[in-house]
Amino acid sequence: MLSAVQNPRLFLIQSRFHLHFPPKSRHFHRSKVPLASQILTEPQTLFSTLPPSSEILTIRKSLLSRQRTAVEIAEEFLNRLRQTEPQIRSFLHVSENAIREAEEIDGKIERNEELGPLAGVLIGVKDNICTIDMPSTGGSRILANYQPAFDATAVKKLRDQGAIIVGKTNLDEFGMGSTTEGSGFQVTSNPWDVSRVPGGSSGGSAAAVSARQCVVALGSDTGGSVRQPASFCGVVGLKPTYGRVSRFGLMAYASSLDVIGCFGSSVADTGILLHSISGHDRLDATSSEREVPDFAAQFISENFLESKPLKGLRVGMISETLGDGVDKGVISSIRVAASHLEELGCIVTEVSLPSFSLGLPAYYILASSESSSNLSRYDGVRYGNQVAADELISLYGASRANGFGPEVKMRILMGTYALSAGYYDAYYKRAQQVRTLVQKSFKAALDENDILISPAAPSAAYKIGEKKNDPLAMYAGDIMTVNVNLAGLPALVLPCGFVEGGPTGLPVGLQMIGAAFDEGKLLKVGHIFEQTLQGCRFVPPLIADGLAC
């Protein structure tokens, strides 16, 4: 029941509710007008060839039309979650309240009360984002059973708009990793091939959305932790501009790089999710006061597109991302995607970002430096199991050693070293200079181009355990994404093709990078790209049968 079952009746019913919408949700409503009316003119019948449509809007329509109840929808997702979870293991905690919350929504519908724009939408939340009613461990044993006293701002916004937080998704400990193998609790599998990693660190969220265990999910992206798993799992992932979304309640890994990001099975859902969590937050001094545009308003149905809907859009293909070390299959997928963009009217050229290769070491120095500081609060005195010790220092030592996994320990050591007297100038300061350089070269490239494109990762999903003992190879996998974090820019990753591997091939993600706070453009381009992409359906084989009904 993932296809868009839309008809003119729904639109009418919906407009009846118009006046009841809280002001915040109005633009959501407006944005739906063209969508609904367009579908009315040309009903679509073939599910398998349909481009992905907005699950969120579909749910809303079925609720408002009373075609389905929120409980039915929640049960559908929870059933799938239960069926697939033993293989995928994307959740660290599943909410016990989901059905009860769905019942409350049904009650509201019953009483004709106004519904939040995300009413009945089941959302997975990465476990490094605080939730007041569920444990939040950051994937670390040191925070096992830790339950925050507050909701992260992003989570609070979701709840305020009627969303049901279905559970907490797995991640590499504190977001440090690219495979989700670094979780202190469990390893998550890729729904496309359960012997493969889902990517990381937001692997749990990506896998959960990919396997339709939830509608959309929140992740966090410090060096690619939303985009790379989105690419591996064949879902849409969005890393917003730094400051677009409040970080309050996100357990800090590298504060100057961290952003909360969005996963969805369509660009539209990702955009709606972004809209609902964006905006200034007085609890985060680094959150931007910029106005949040109505991203969804720019979504135009394929049927209404002109032949060249992206006519004149300048697209720069980053040449450094298509060279050595990148899978041939990935490169050809990106080139195909580029020619697809050309077909849509874009002017695609290759651009060079000379500082590109410097980004990776700079990223690792900055991120580990900040993390060594951010993680110093997990000292075993306040959290986790306090290890008995006589001396203060040995107390710290003992409980930290017990609580942190090897990857975290390594990064703390790296960061401590980079910040220590005598090395600060050589490492941290130099890395900051590189960061400025990266920002400048992006700025220059984005002055010449509307968006930049690159692969989201040098390869498709690899096997679990494959890079576990080769951290450098794993770090190198972040080359496509870290520069974007250094520059603080928004980037959208969406599936654009397949490479061989697994039972039915493995998805490849295309990364689109935009100017700061220009998520709207990325979403618009991404939406058109997605709606016009032929012959690809990014539903993993694990659940494809169940969905084809």
Binding site: G138, Y146, A252, L283, S373
Partner: protein
Amino acid sequence: MPEKLHPLTEADVADGKKVVANPEYIVWRQTDRLLRGWITGTLSEEVLGLVVGLDTSAEVWQALLDAFSQESQEREFYLQQQLSLYRKGNTPLVDYIRTFKLLCDDLAAIGKLIDDRKMASICFRGIQTRPLFLYPSALFTRKNGVLFCTMKSAQAQTATHENQQPQKVSYHSQAKTLEKISHEYEAVIGIETHVQLSTLTKAFCSCPYLYGSQPNTCVCPICMGLPGALPVFNSKVIEFAVKVGLALNCNLSMNSKFDRKQYFYPDLPKGYQISQFDIPIATGGFIDLDLPMEFGGGHRRFGITRVHMEEDAGKLLHSGNESYSQEIPYSLLHLTHYYGISVDLNRAGVPLLEVVSEPDIRSGIEAAEYAAELQRLVRYLGVSNGNMQEGSLRCDVNVSVRPIGQSEFGTKVEVKNMNSFSAMNRAIDFEISRQVLLHRQGQVDQIVQETRLWEEGAQKTVTMRKKEGLADYRYFPEPDLPEVILTKEYVDNIRDTLPELPEIKRRRYEKIGLSMQDVLFLANDVNVADFFDAAVEKGADVKLAANWIMSDIAAYLKNEKLSINEIKLTPQELAELISSIKGGTISGKIGKEILFELISKGGTVKALIEEKDLVQASYIVDPAEIEKMIDKVLADNPKQLQQYRGGKTKLQGFFAGQVMKESKGKANPGLLNKILSEKLNAKS
């Protein structure tokens, strides 16, 4: 008897009856006036000044007791004078020494111990045949000083006040050592002061901070450093920092930032402290101060290296021994066994300013006065209560010693744990002596870079921890907070609204003709200074206003443990009172009476004068009226008059008493005595 002292019984008022004078009171009052007249009638002119304006005989008696009792200033003054003027002359040596010792014992009995060395020198000087110049005791100038300081004890400790406290003999001998060594060695002292800012909320969250609250009741996820919590900067802290920066004559950094200072300690919930490292908000300033007269006075200017903003840490609590742990600084606990400790995070995240001085300070008293001036400054600015006991003003002092003439500094020792200015003074002087001694004994290598704690009980510094190289705090820019950007407009706006600062105030007071004693007293407390300024603005005579504030009002404040803005007297009414006395509307005596009413009950001078007139007349100040009464008394007592004129001049007191009786105690004593002696001595 005591209840009869009240003009009205409580029942009269409680019944809401018409308020009428209690007849018993009137009877008592008349008797008391008579008694007072007898006392005042027998006093010499000088002593009369002490009791002028006192209402009841009991007050007069108390005033005399105060003045001549063993503890009094005057007695001390008198004894000191006796001691210094006492000469052997022709008296036998045994008698000379006995009398000398009696004087010393009398001084000791009122708590003014004279140390043996000084005693010996005075004694020997008295034996010398040729009298020398007066003994230049600082006590001669102390009359105001002592009052000044005792008053402060009710409101604020200052360096000078605390130095009045009885000090251990060891300190005296230490001071002597210092005197001697000051010719060979020089101390170099720099001070790092943490000033807790009195913002309504903490630096990075919206928790209020109330000193003395139950542990962990002023906390939230942010100041507890919970996962996911982020700091949000309280802009009031910047405003306060800019105020202090400007007041300390610093250059402000228009673009500064916050940094993280990292170290592990359980009282530091995030594992790092948000501070400012390489770009502090203010740098390169100075502070001006005047040393108290007791210490020879003098103006000093000390450089200020930097001022930066940071957050405070929490406190460790020993389970079951809370009071103990609150008193010792957290740094000390570093060395203690800490099993079962808990942490109180109330103070965590409270904004601090760290003010770092240049190494310009040379002695304990300079250091103490530097800290006292900083305290005055922050109180004037209203950015901190500056309370040392509560830890709102904490000083870490770096002390080194070098032979005079040497340009490089000696090894620096950090001294901590001083909870008062007086402790600072003594701790530093002790530390200087200790280091000089090591220099003298050729053991300079024993002076090592370390942190030493001042032990108040033992009056010495002890090693807390040796420093093993410089601590590496791994500073880096705080990524959770934006840069601190000041605009010229913002700074100008703050500059324009700065209050008059202590130094400027002192210079102004000096200019309007106040003595340095008065200047230091009035400028010490911003509330007192404001009161004084307001009274002067309302037309009060400068010197008289200062006197009233420093004597009667200060004494009242001290007794009642109040601050000047807690009393009901307004500067307006003080000015009114002063001009009423000056203009002769009322006598000084009535003025004093009214003053205490104004202080405790409020109201206006005019209303009180009118009200008083209903139950009691003011002094008879009309010379003709007094003369009439004197004439009557002289006429009534011809025998005594004859005896007086025959040389029995002691009888003047008798006549004065009679006139007082005649006037029912209302005659102005000064006027009375003046006219009386004219009459008595006039050829008739």
